[in-house]
Amino acid sequence: MDGSAVVGWRVVGAGLWVGAVLVPLVGLLIALATGPGPQAGWWFTSRQLVLLGKTAGLAGVATVVTFLVALPTVRGLGWVGGRGRDRWVWLILGLALLLPPYVYAFGWDGLIAPRLTAWLGSWAGMVRTVWVWAGWSWPIPALFLTAGWVRVGHGAYRAALLEANPRTAFRRAVLPILAGHGAAAMVVLWVLFMIEYNVPHACSIQVFATELLAWGQSSRHAVDVVYPAVPLLVVMVAAGGCGLIVWRGSAGGDDQQDPPPAEVGVGRWRSLWPVVAVLALTMGTPFCGLAVRLASWTSFVALWQVYGGELAESIAIAAASGVAVVWLGTWLAGEDRWVRVRGAATVTTILFGLMPAGLVGEAMVVAYRHVGVIYDQWPVMVLTQTARWGWIGWVAGWLIKRSTPTGLIDQARTDGAGRAAAGMMIGWRHHWPILAAAAALAAAMCLAEVAAMSMVRPPGVGWMAMTLMEKFHRFEDQMLVTISFVLALAPVPAVVLGWLAWRVRGA
C-alpha cells in the first residue's frame, strides 16, 4: 500500500463523515438558530409527553416480553458456544434478527390480528406490536446473555451442578451472574423499540417515532420537528450512556474459556430444543403465515415485471450505502493523526445512530435542499443511510483493530510502512470478511428502511420498502407477501459473510 492510497482512504472517509453527519448536523443547528420558534410554543404539549410516556411504556413491556422469549434459549445457546457442527444455530439467529421487522408484522397480522381484535378491541394493535417486536428481536438478549454465560458463568454453574439438577443450577447460579449483561441487553432493546418505526406503523398504532415522521412531513420549519423530539433524544442519550456503563461493568469479568457447561450431563438436542422451538414459533410461524397467503408463485414474475427496475435501484443504493458505511467506519476506527477529530466524528456518528429516522431525514433535507447534485439524485439516499448506520462500520473497524496482532503491525512498520498503512494492510487483509459482513449488514438494514427514505427519496428513484408499505395500505395482499419474501432475502449475504468472518477470526 502506498501513501496515496492511505491519503485517498482518509479523504473519502472524512468526506463521508462530513457529508453524512457533519453537514446535516450543522445545517440543522443553523436552521434552528436562524429560524422561528416552535409553532406550538416552547412548552411541550400534553400529547407529546403522553406519546413519549406511551412509547416508553410500550418499549418497556416489549423489552420484558422479549426477555421472556429469549430466556429459554440461553442455556442451549451457551452449549452451542463455538462448536463447529452447531454453528448453524448462530446463522439462523442472525438471519432472524436481520429480517425486516415489518415482514414479521405482516406475517403475524393474518394469524393473530382477528382473534386479538375480538378479545382486546382497540388494545389489539399494541399487543400485536409488543409480540412482533419480541418475536423479531429476542436474539439480542439471547446473544448478550449467552455471551455473559459463556464468559463468566461456567465455574459457578459447575459448582451448582454438584448440588442441584441442571435447570435449578442454571437458575440459581448463572442467572444472577448475568445481571450486567441482562441490563445492557435491556437498554439496547428499549432504545431500539423507542425509535423503531416500522412495526407500530404496520400494527396501526401511534408512537413517538411515527408521530415524528408526521411532524417532519407537515412542518414548515426544522424546529417543529427537532424541538418536540428533544425529550426523546435526552432519554435516548441517557439510556445509551447507562447501557455503556452497564456493559463496561459487566464486560470486565473472568475471561475464562472453559468448555461449554452442558457437557456435564445434558445432551446436544436436549439443550438445543428450546432454541429450535423458539425459532419455530417466532420465525417459522409468521413466515408460514405469509406463505399460506401466497395464492400463486406467479406473483414473483409479476413483481419482477412491474418492479424489477425499482428492485435493482433499491439493491444498488443499499450496496452503495453498505460500502460507504464501512469506509466511514474504518476511517473512524483507524490509525490516524486526527485523533480528536475522529473522536468527535465517532460520537456524532453514534448520535445519528441513536436518532429516530425521521430526524435524520429532516437533517438531510435541511442540509441538501439547495444542492441539486445531491438532493435531486441517489446520493442523498446513500448519505442518509450512511448517517443512520455509520455506527455499524465503526464497530466493524473497531473489531478489526482489536483483533489485529500488534506484533504484525510493528513488523510492517519496521519494514517501512506508515502506521495507518500497516494497520489497514494487515487488519483488512486478515479480517476482510468482517468488513464485508458489516457492509452487507448495513445494506440489509438500509433496504428495510422506510421512515428516513420517505423524506429524502428523489423523484424517479424507486424504493422497495416504501412500495411494500404502499401495498400494505392499499390492501394488496399478494404483492405484499411477494415483496416481503424478496426483502427477506436481503440479510442472507450479510449472514453468510458474517459466518465467514467468524470462521476466519476463529482460524
Binding site: 375480538a118 389489539a124 408526521a214 412531513q217 435501484e313 469506509w327 441539486g372 428523489p458 392499499r474
Partner: protein, 336 residues
C-alpha cells in the same frame, strides 16, 4: 488495498450506470399525492400515448399531500417539481395563492365545469372522491350509521370512530370544510366532542379503513376509494355518504393538476398537465378500483355514475381560506 479500491470503484461505476449519474434533464418531474397504484397506470398511459416519461415522486399514506406541499413551499427558490398532481384541492388553492403555481389552461379541459377549475387557470380539477363514513358490516347496519357528519360527535359514535390525522390528506380539507360551512364555533365544538368521546387517530385514511375492517373500530371518516379498494379485497366494509348539513350534501374533493412556478421543463410540464386533465384520464380513473367520479357531466352520464349533488354550494376557495386556522384548531384539540 488495490483490490478493495477496485471493488469500490466497480460498485460506484455500477451504481452510476444503474441509476444514471445525473437525472434525465428532459423528463418532467411530477410530485404526486394520488395513490401510487392508480397513478402508475396513468403515467404508463401517458408514456404510451405521448412518449413523455415522467420522473414521479409519490408521498406516503401517513403524510398524504401535506408532505409534498411542504416540499414545494420549501423548494420555492429552486423548484425541483415541474407538475403537481394533488389528490385534493384545498392545498392546491393555497399554493396558487402563494404564487407557487403557474397559470396554464390545458386545452383538454374545456369541458370541465368552472367550479372545478381555478379562476386564474392555476389548477385544473379531475377525478372526484367523496368524503364518506366507512363502517364494519359485521358491527353496524347501514340504517344505524349516522347520515350527517355532525352526528358523529355523539359519544355513542365518537368512541367507535377512527379518523386520519387532520393535518394530512383529504381529512385536512374535510375539517377545513366543516369550519367554512358550519362556522368556527360549531366546528370547534364538534372536534371537542369527538376528542371527549374518544375518537382515535390513524396514519391515513386507508389505515382507518383497515382498522374498521379488522374490527378495531366500528366506523371511520374516509374517502370513497379507500372503501372501494377494501371491498374489492373482500373486507367487510361499506360506506354511507353523509351530508355536510342542510342542503349541502356530500363533500366531493377533486384531484388537481398544476404547473409549478419556475419549473425547469415547462414544455414537458404542459404536456403532462394536458394529459392529466384530459377525459381519458378521468375515464381511466373512473374505471379503476379507485372509481373516481368524473367532473365532466357528459362523462358522468356516459359511465352511469352517481355524481356530486348539492356540492355546488361548497365554495372550495372559502374552505381553503379557513384551512390554516381550522388545522391549527384541530391540532390543538385532537393532537394535544
Amino acid at each position: 488495498m488495490r483490490c478493495i479500491s477496485c471493488a469500490c470503484g466497480v460498485v460506484v461505476f455500477a451504481l452510476s450506470l444503474c441509476l444514471g449519474v445525473g437525472c434525465d434533464r428532459d423528463r418532467p418531474v411530477v410530485y404526486c399525492s394520488a395513490d401510487e397504484e392508480f397513478a402508475r397506470q396513468v403515467f404508463a398511459e401517458l408514456e404510451r400515448t405521448t412518449g413523455v416519461k415522467a420522473e414521479v415522486l409519490f408521498d406516503t399514506e401517513a403524510g398524504k399531500t401535506t408532505g409534498l406541499v411542504r416540499k414545494i413551499e420549501a423548494e420555492r427558490d429552486r423548484p425541483r417539481a415541474d407538475v403537481f398532481w394533488s389528490s385534493e384541492v384545498f392545498n392546491t388553492i393555497r399554493l396558487a395563492e402563494q404564487g407557487l403555481l403557474e397559470p396554464y389552461r390545458p386545452g383538454t379541459a374545456d369541458d370541465v365545469e368552472a367550479r372545478f377549475r381555478s379562476p386564474d387557470d392555476r389548477w385544473t380539477g379531475f377525478g372526484l372522491r367523496g368524503r364518506v363514513i366507512g363502517f364494519n358490516t359485521s358491527k353496524l347496519s347501514r340504517e344505524q350509521v349516522p347520515k350527517r357528519w355532525i352526528d358523529l360527535a355523539d359519544a355513542k359514535w365518537a368512541s367507535k370512530l377512527v379518523m386520519a390525522n387532520p393535518q394530512f390528506g383529504t381529512t385536512r380539507g374535510h375539517v377545513a370544510a366543516m369550519f367554512a360551512l358550519w362556522g368556527e364555533a360549531k366546528a370547534v365544538d364538534f372536534l371537542k366532542r369527538l376528542r371527549e368521546g374518544g375518537v382515535r387517530l390513524a396514519d391515513g385514511n386507508s389505515t382507518a379503513v383497515r382498522m374498521v375492517a379488522k374490527g378495531e373500530a366500528a366506523l371511520c371518516m374516509t374517502d370513497t376509494d379507500d372503501v372501494w379498494v377494501a371491498q374489492k379485497r373482500g373486507w367487510p366494509v361499506e360506506l354511507v355518504y353523509p351530508s355536510m348539513g342542510e342542503g349541502l350534501g356530500t363533500l366531493w374533493i377533486p384531484n388537481t393538476v398544476a404547473i409549478v412556478t419556475g419549473c425547469r421543463r415547462a414544455a414537458a410540464a404542459r404536456q403532462v398537465v394536458d394529459y392529466l386533465a384530459s377525459v381519458e384520464v378521468e375515464r381511466l380513473l373512473a374505471r379503476s378500483d379507485s372509481r373516481n367520479v368524473p367532473v365532466r357531466p357528459g362523462l358522468l352520464k356516459e359511465l352511469g355514475m352517481d355524481g356530486p349533488t348539492g356540492a355546488g354550494s361548497v365554495d372550495l376557495a372559502a374552505v381553503a381560506k379557513v384551512m390554516p386556522i381550522a388545522i391549527e384548531r384541530a391540532r390543538e384539540i385532537l393532537l394535544r
